[in-house]
C-alpha cells in the first residue's frame, strides 16, 4: 500500500475471498505466462516521502536558469509572456484538471463549453470560420496541416518557406516521409520568403504551400502575396501564425489562407521547457470535415436547454479508425483552456494594446542594437516582437558572455540556419521593459566588444 492506494490487509483478505482466489499471486499466475513474468524488482530507487520528492525536484529546478533567473530575450517559437494568476487558479481546479476527454456530455458541459468558446476565439483571431479544439503544439500542427492537404487533394508535393520554424519543417519532413510526400524548401531573401522562388515552386502537383507569419527571423511576410501565388494551383495555403501579433497583423482569413495553425504557448501557457502547450488549427469552411482533432458543437438537450457536445466525430479515429482524418486522441484541452482564458483576459482592446506595445519596444530594441559597434541588421523587414541581427563576433561566445551578466540575448541562428552563422534572434515580450532592453544593449555591446578584442588579440 502506498499513499495513493487504500488496500489494507483486511481489505485484501476480504477482496481475495470475494474473487475466490487464495492470493494476489494467483491472479497473476493464472493470467501471465511464466516466461514473461518479471521475477526481481525493477531497478529503480526506493519510493520517497512527499517532502523528499519536493526537495529533489526543487533541487533539479535550481540547476536550471529560468526566465526568473535572467533577463531573457530568447524566443524562437516560445516566449516568456506573463501568465495571469487567474489561469493558474482555473487550470488548477479539479473540475478542469482531472476529467478525461468529455465523452459524457451531460456531465462535461464545462469542458465542452470551454472548447466552444476557445473555437470561437481562435476563429475570431484568425478570421477563419472553423477551428478545432486544439492539436498538440505548433510545429506538429504544421505537419498536420500538410496531412490535411494530403487527404484533401492527394497531391504529393509540399512547398514550404524556410521562414517556417525549423522544428515545424522537421516535423513536416518526418511525417511526410511516412505517407511519401516530397517537401520543397524555399529560401529567404531580404529576410522574407523569396517571392519568385515561391511562385516558381508552386505547380499543379503542389498539395500544400506553407509560410510562417511573422517568420522565424521575426519579419512580417506579405501573406496576401504568398497566398495569392498559390491561387491557381490545387494547393492548400497554410499559414503558421504567432497569435500574439494578431491584434495588429492582418489575419490569415483576410489573406487568402486556407488553414492557419500555430503555437499556442504564448496564449497563457508557461514555457515549461517546451511543453505542454497547444497548437491551434483553423480553416475555411471547405475543410471542416477534413479537420483533425476534437470539435465541440452547440446543440440542445431533451428539455430544450442549450448544451454542447463533441461533434463531427466521424472524422475521428475512434469512429473511423483507419479512415480517420488524423490519429489524434488526447490533445491539449487544458492548455487550450488557458488560451481562451488568456484571450478573454486580454480582451478585444488588450490584444491590440499588447501588439502595439511590442511593436514599439521591438523597434526601440532593434534600433538600439544595430547602433552598436559590431552589430548590424540581418534584414530590414517590418518586425513586431522579434528581429534578427548579425554580430561581428562569435555568436555563441557573445551569448555566453551576456549570460554571465544575467542577460540572455537571444537565439543563435546558426544553430538552425547554416546561412546565418552570425545571426542572433532577439525576442520581446511585455515583460521586457525599456530598462531591460537598455541593459541588453549595454551587456551585448560590451560582450561583442570584448569578443572582438579577444579575437583581435589572439590573431
Amino acid at each position: 500500500m502506498s499513499r495513493y492506494t487504500a488496500t489494507t490487509d483486511a481489505d485484501l483478505e476480504a477482496m481475495l475471498a470475494e474473487i475466490g482466489v487464495s492470493s494476489l499471486q494467483e491472479i497473476f499466475d493464472r493470467q501471465i505466462p511464466a516466461g514473461v513474468r518479471l521475477e526481481g524488482p525493477l531497478d529503480l530507487p526506493e519510493g520517497l516521502p512527499e517532502q523528499e520528492v519536493y526537495a529533489h525536484l526543487r533541487e533539479l529546478a535550481a540547476r536550471n536558469t529560468s526566465a526568473e533567473d535572467e533577463i531573457t530575450f530568447l524566443g524562437a517559437g516560445m516566449y516568456d509572456h506573463y501568465v495571469p494568476a487567474v489561469i493558474d487558479m482555473l487550470m488548477g481546479r479539479s473540475e478542469f484538471l482531472t476529467p478525461y476527454t468529455p465523452y459524457q456530455p451531460e456531465i462535461s458541459q464545462g469542458g465542452l463549453q470551454v472548447m466552444f468558446e476557445y473555437q470561437t476565439a481562435i476563429s475570431e483571431l484568425t478570421a477563419l470560420p472553423v477551428s478545432n479544439a486544439s492539436v498538440y503544439e505548433g510545429p506538429s500542427a504544421v505537419a498536420a496541416a500538410a496531412y490535411l492537404a494530403h487527404i484533401a487533394n492527394g497531391k504529393g508535393r509540399v512547398v514550404v518557406s524556410r521562414g517556417v520554424h525549423p522544428h515545424a519543417r522537421a516535423a513536416l519532413a518526418t511525417l511526410a516521409a511516412g505517407y511519401g510526400h516530397e517537401v520543397v524548401e524555399i529560401e529567404l531573401r531580404d529576410g522574407v520568403t523569396d517571392p519568385d522562388a515561391w511562385a516558381e515552386a508552386i505547380d499543379g502537383e503542389t498539395g500544400a504551400v506553407i509560410f510562417q507569419q511573422p517568420n522565424f527571423l521575426g519579419a512580417v511576410e506579405d501573406a496576401e502575396a504568398l497566398a495569392g501565388a498559390a491561387k491557381e494551383s490545387p494547393a492548400v495555403v497554410v499559414g503558421s501564425y504567432d497569435p500574439i501579433p494578431l491584434g495588429i497583423v492582418k489575419p490569415p482569413g483576410e489573406c487568402g489562407v486556407d488553414v492557419a495553425v500555430g503555437e499556442g504557448q504564448t496564449l497563457g501557457n508557461r514555457l515549461d521547457f517546451g511543453g505542454p502547450s497547444f497548437g491551434f488549427f483553423a480553416a475555411t469552411q471547405a475543410y471542416l470535415r477534413r479537420m483533425p482533432g476534437r470539435i465541440a458543437g452547440e446543440t440542445t438537450d431533451v428539455d430544450g436547454r442549450r448544451g454542447f457536445v463533441l461533434t463531427l466525430q466521424t472524422r475521428e479515429q475512434h469512429i473511423r479508425r483507419e479512415k480517420a482524418t488524423s490519429n489524434i486522441c488526447t490533445a491539449q484541452a487544458l492548455n487550450a483552456l488557458a488560451g481562451v482564458v488568456y484571450l478573454s483576459w486580454l480582451g478585444r482592446e488588450g490584444l491590440v494594446e499588447l501588439g502595439e506595445l511590442l511593436l514599439q519596444r521591438t523597434h526601440y530594441a532593434r534600433e538600439a542594437l544595430v547602433a552598436l559597434d559590431g552589430v548590424s541588421a540581418l534584414h530590414e523587414q517590418p518586425v513586431v516582437r522579434e528581429f534578427a541581427v548579425r554580430l561581428d563576433a562569435d555568436v555563441d561566445a557573445v551569448i555566453r558572455r551576456c549570460q554571465e551578466q544575467g542577460v540572455n540575448p537571444g537565439f543563435a541562428l546558426g544553430r538552425e540556419y547554416d546561412e546565418f552563422p552570425d545571426g542572433l534572434l532577439v525576442a520581446l515580450t511585455e515583460q521586457r521593459s525599456r530598462k531591460d532592453i537598455d541593459r541588453l544593449v549595454e551587456v551585448l555591446g560590451a560582450a561583442v566588444a570584448a569578443e572582438r578584442t579577444r579575437v583581435g588579440a589572439a590573431s
Binding site: E95, H167, T174, G275, P276, E316, I328, Q332
Partner: protein, 523 residues
Amino acid sequence: MSTINDNVLHGDPGVEAHEPSHRVPVGGEVASPLQREAAVTIFEKGAKGRRAFTAPRLDVPEADGEQLLPTALRRREPPRLPEISEPELVRHYVNLSKRNFDLDSGFYPLGSCTMKHNPRLHERVAALPGHARLHPLQSAEHSQGALALMHNLEHALGEVAGLPHVSLQPSAGSHGELAGVLLTKAYHEDRGETRTKVLTPDTAHGTNPATVTMAGYEVVKVGTNPDGGVDVDDLRAKADTDVACLMLTNPNTLGIFDANIEEIAEIVHAVGATLYYDGANLNAVMGLSRPGDMGFDIVHFNLHKSFTQPHGGGGPGAGPIAVSDRIEPYLPRPVIVREGDAFRLDEDRPKSIGKLRGFQGNYGCFVRSYAYICSLGAEGLKDASETAVLNANYLLARLRNLDVADRLPLAFGELCMHEFVLSGAPMKRDLGIKTLDLAKRLLDHGYHPPTVYFPLLVDEALLIEPTETETRETLDAFAVAVAAVLREAEDDPELARNAPYTTPVRRLDEAGAAKRPVIRQPL
C-alpha cells in the same frame, strides 16, 4: 459469497434517498441549482470597454506605427474577443467548471483511460519557476536540472518497459504510435526493405489503425480467439514479409493478458516485422511483466494514464517511446546524452526519423511523471499494478455476486487484468435498456460511467477500469448502483431510457449537432 459487511453492501450513500418534505414546488420557478443556469458563453457576457488586463506603460519613445507596420500588413478590425472585467472572468469559468464531473469528485471507471488519482504534489513541483519558466532553447549548460530529470525519467521508463532506449518526445499515445510506426519504416528502409502492411487486432484502439494510415501503411486486421487473445492462426496466416509491424495492446482492451504472447512475438519476428506495444494498458503490469521481455521492439507510454499526468479534460499528455537496440538509431532527435555528470541534447543523429514536434516534448508532463516515480519507487509501481488488477477483479466479482452477471456477463475469460469488459446484450434483450441507458442512469447515481461500445467486437460493450487508487468501499457502492439500475429497469425501463435527470443538461441532440454544425459563436 460476500465477506464484507451489509452496510457497505446495501448502504450506498450515493442513493440513500431523502424524501424531501417540500420538493421544488410544482410549477415553481427554480430548477435544480445547476440546471437553472442557462449556458451563457463568455462572448455573451461583459460590455464594450471592460477589461481584465492592464497594459504596461509605453516606456520607449513612440515611433510612427504606420512606419513600423504598414497598413497593408495591418489588421483593420480587432478580433471580437470578450470584453470583461476580471471578476466576471473568474466567475464565468469557475461556474463553468461546476458543470464538469471530475476525478477529484467521484469514481471514474472509464476503461482504457486509467483514471487514477492525480497527486497535487506534481502540480506543485511542475510549477516551480525553474521548471515552469525554463525556455526550451536555453543552453544545455543552463538546463542541467531539466536534462537530468529527463535522463532519469528515460531510465525509469526503460526499466519499466524492459527496453534500453527511450525518447520522451511524442505528445501523447497516438503520437507515440506514429513515432513507433515511422521508426519501423525507417528501420526497414535502412535495411533496404519496403513493407506495406501493419497488422492490428480487432480489439485495437482506433488510434492504432488511424496511425497506420497516417504513416502510409495499409491496415490488416487480425482476429481475436475465444479467450480474448490474438487469433494466432489468423496472425500466422497474415504475417508475411509485406508486414512491417504488429501493433498490440497487452493486456488488451478486453483486459486480457495474451497467453500466447511469446508465440506471437516469434511469428512476428520470424517475418522480420517489428512488434509494437500500445502502452495504454501498462498500468496492469508495471513491475510484473515487461514488454521488452515479452519481445516487443517499441513501446509507447501514456504518461497521462499510468503515470498520473492529469487528463485535463482531453490533454495534455505525453507519449514517450522505449525501443530496443536495433531501433535506437532511428529515434527522434534530439536525444539526451550523458557525458560524465553533464547532459546535453544531441541533434546529430543521421539515421533519425527527425522530429515529431518542437523542442523536447511535454516537459511539464515529464516533471509530474518523474515525481510520481520518485514517490512510488520500484515497490510502489508494482503495488499500483497489483492493486489495479486486484480492484478490477474484485469489482468483477462483486458484480457477479450481486447477480448482475446474467444481464451483464463478462465478455471473455474468468479473471481479468486491470480492466474488464461486460456485454450489455442480455440486458438489452431482457430488460430493454441499452448499455448507453445504463451509462446515463449511472450519471444520476453520481458516477462517471465506464467506457461504452468499445472494444467494438463485444456487443453492447461496457469496459470497466477502476484503477488502484479507489477504495473497496467505492467499488462496493458502484456495484450496488449498477445492480440498482438493473433492478429498477425490471419495473420500469423508461427510467434508464430517459436518464439522466439530475445533470446540468440531459441527453443532448448529438445527431442534430453534427447535421447542422454550430462550432463557433456567431458574433
